[in-house]
Amino acid sequence: MNDLLEILQDLHPEIDYETNTQLVTGKIFDSFDIVTIIAEVNDAFDVTIPAEEIVEKNFDSARALYALITRLMDED
């Protein structure tokens, strides 16, 4: 989780990722941010987030994103 938080902090240092649960619905992340996160996650966790997983509920909070990453890692 810490690795992920580091990636997210780099992108928007002003956001409190522990509490914010509206990263996409609250228009904090745009499509450029999401693609950047996916590339960074690919590097850090060696896991590929496919396009079909790019939905609001997977990116709306750091916790949801982490759950997605662990699920994809398990599937691998």
């Binding site: 499509s31 450029f32 693609v35 950047t36 590339a39 590097d43 590929t48 396009a51 079909e52 790019i54």
Partner: protein, 529 residues
């Protein structure tokens, strides 16, 4: 059948009557029948295209669904005896089969669209090159564009991709899929619906709900008002400027930018209001396509609020799949090594953005104007992305970002920028567009406009006053919408207020709608796409 024709109004009324008279289980069938009649009216031969798309999409989706079920059953039955690696290999092999089916179907249907929509554009370009080398030319194909082909092709593509992505199961009944593809209010200009959204209400049983019918009718009337009173009147001045380039340059081109932006807004949002309003009268809920786009403070925000269903379509099915594909992720890694972290990270995103905007441009029309229009949008988005750190530094030093005046400046800047790029819709080719846009700086000629030039654009003083009042009304309604539904607010004022609004809109459309010679009730601009 024009939305603004008496025939269409009669057609909708008759369909509504049948829809609420028959037992509810027949409602979606009545809509399908009406949609087929509506489509056949545009040319009975055109039905072959849409029905081919429905049939191929149905067959491919059904087969993909079967393969998905088979995979699930096989894995659950053999979970004990298969190793994790064997399960993965089996799943991958089955997914490959599904992908082959999906890609074949997409290529086939996109092929139909490409041949019909882009053949003559390709031939024209080949002929121009051949002409340079004094070679013979190829004859143009004589194919008429079937109604709504860009919209229904994209809608069925998203349906098939979503089945492949297991977002929803395939539709078992081909006739229901045919209704999703051809639903008559949306076939002409969208919105581009997703199956998982539209299917929630499209096939349901709907009681006659007076409030929903009243709200739908209000929205239809509001759409007619925007289309007939504003767009179809504004188009007269717009066409005068476009068709007389020798007489109207400089400030007239600037005026064209503004007038065309207003016309397009009134035309497109008016059409969508009619579409969504009619659907609401049938108890069907459609996605919104606009969210007060001219209040956007940046071009990226504008594209999140204008033609939303098209923007999300391109984002979900082109931008993201390209951006997160393996080759792009590899490129991202290498680019970071070559160009440093900052630029390297952005390169794949920018490449995907260029492809997406090229596709958006060519989707709008088979001409270089639209391709350049798409790429210019892309350029502005990328420049503003690159300048973001600079803006942030500027705002740290000069903290005016939250003042009303600065926000107004941002809104005006975005409006003017979008209007300037949109001039590419107007003139017949890219060269002429840039030449005419250049005259804004070389041949301003404000004096000519003030000394009676405005009087030659085909609009009387009464027209101009009416247009100003109507645009002001649209602006005020947009302002009111910020705090919730205007129709609900009117309803809360009581039945007299509702009646007064109906009456005013109805009479306003009848008296002030642009009809007759020179005021021909026009096709919607987005029909051609």
């Amino acid at each position: 059948m024009l939305f603004t024709s008496y025939l269409f109004i009669g057609f909708v009324l008759l369909t509504l009557l049948l829809y609420y008279s028959f037992p509810k289980r027949f409602q979606w069938m009545i809509l399908l029948f009406a949609s087929m009649v509506f489509y056949a009216y545009s040319g009975i031969g055109n039905l072959i295209y849409i029905l081919t798309t429905v049939l191929t999409t149905y067959l491919a989706a059904t087969q993909i669904g079967r393969l998905q079920n088979r995979t699930e059953v096989y894995i659950s039955e053999h979970r004990q005896e298969l190793s994790r690696e064997e399960r993965k290999t089996y799943k991958a092999a089955m997914k490959k089969k599904q992908r082959l089916l999906m890609v074949s179907c997409l290529v086939f249907n996109l092929g139909i669209l490409a041949v019909i929509k882009y053949s003559n554009f390709t031939i024209d370009n080949i002929n121009k090159i051949a002409d340079m080398f004094h070679k013979g030319t190829i004859s143009f194909l004589d194919i008429a564009l079937p109604m709504g082909i860009s919209f229904y092709t994209f809608q069925t593509m998203s349906y098939l991709i979503d089945v492949y992505r297991a977002k929803h199961p395939p539709e078992k009944n081909i006739f229901r899929l045919a209704l999703f593809t051809s639903f008559f209010p949306q076939i002409i200009q969208g919105p581009i619906s997703r199956y998982e959204d539209l299917s929630q209400t499209l096939y349901g049983s709907h009681d006659r709900n007076g409030r929903e019918i009243m709200f739908g009718l209000q929205r239809v009337l509001w759409g007619f008002f925007k289309k007939l009173v504003i767009a179809d009147r504004m188009v007269i001045a717009v066409n005068t400027i476009i068709n007389n380039t020798d007489d109207y340059s400089g400030i007239y081109v600037f005026l064209l930018m503004i007038l065309y932006s207003i016309e397009l807004y009134a035309d497109f949002t008016g059409g969508i209001d009619i579409t969504i309003g009619i659907a609401q009268m049938f108890g069907i809920k459609m996605k919104e396509n606009f969210e007060r786009p001219y209040f956007s403070k940046s071009i990226t925000e504008f594209w999140r609020r204008w033609h939303i269903t098209m923007g999300t379509w391109f984002k979900d099915y082109i931008f993201y799949p390209i951006s997160v594909s393996q080759p792009m992720l590899k490129l991202s890694k290498n680019a970071r090594k070559w160009f440093g972290d900052a630029l390297g990270k952005r390169m794949p995103v920018y490449l995907a953005t260029i492809v997406t905007w090229f596709a958006t441009g060519i989707w709008h029309g088979a001409s270089w104007n639209f391709i350049v229009w798409g790429l210019l949008n892309c350029l502005v988005i990328m420049i503003s992305q690159e300048f973001t750190p600079l803006y942030e530094r500027f705002h740290r030093h000069f903290p005016y970002g939250n003042t009303t005046w600065y926000r107004a400046f941002q809104i005006l800047r975005t409006f003017l920028l979008m209007s300037a790029i949109r001039v590419l819709d107007c003139y017949r080719n890219v060269g002429l567009t840039f030449k005419m846009a250049g005259t804004i700086f070389t041949d301003w000629n404000l004096k000519g406009l003030l000394q009676g030039g405005w009087n030659t654009l085909g609009l009387t003083i009464a027209d101009i006053i009416l247009l100003c009042a109507a645009v002001l009304l649209v602006f005020m309604v947009s302002m009111l919408q910020r705090s919730g539904s205007v129709r609900v607010k009117i309803e809360q004022k009581g039945p007299y207020a509702v009646f007064a609004v109906f009456l005013l809109l109805f009479v306003g459309i009848l008296i002030f709608g642009a009809y007759g010679t020179g005021y021909d009730s026009n096709q919607f601009i987005y029909n051609q796409f």
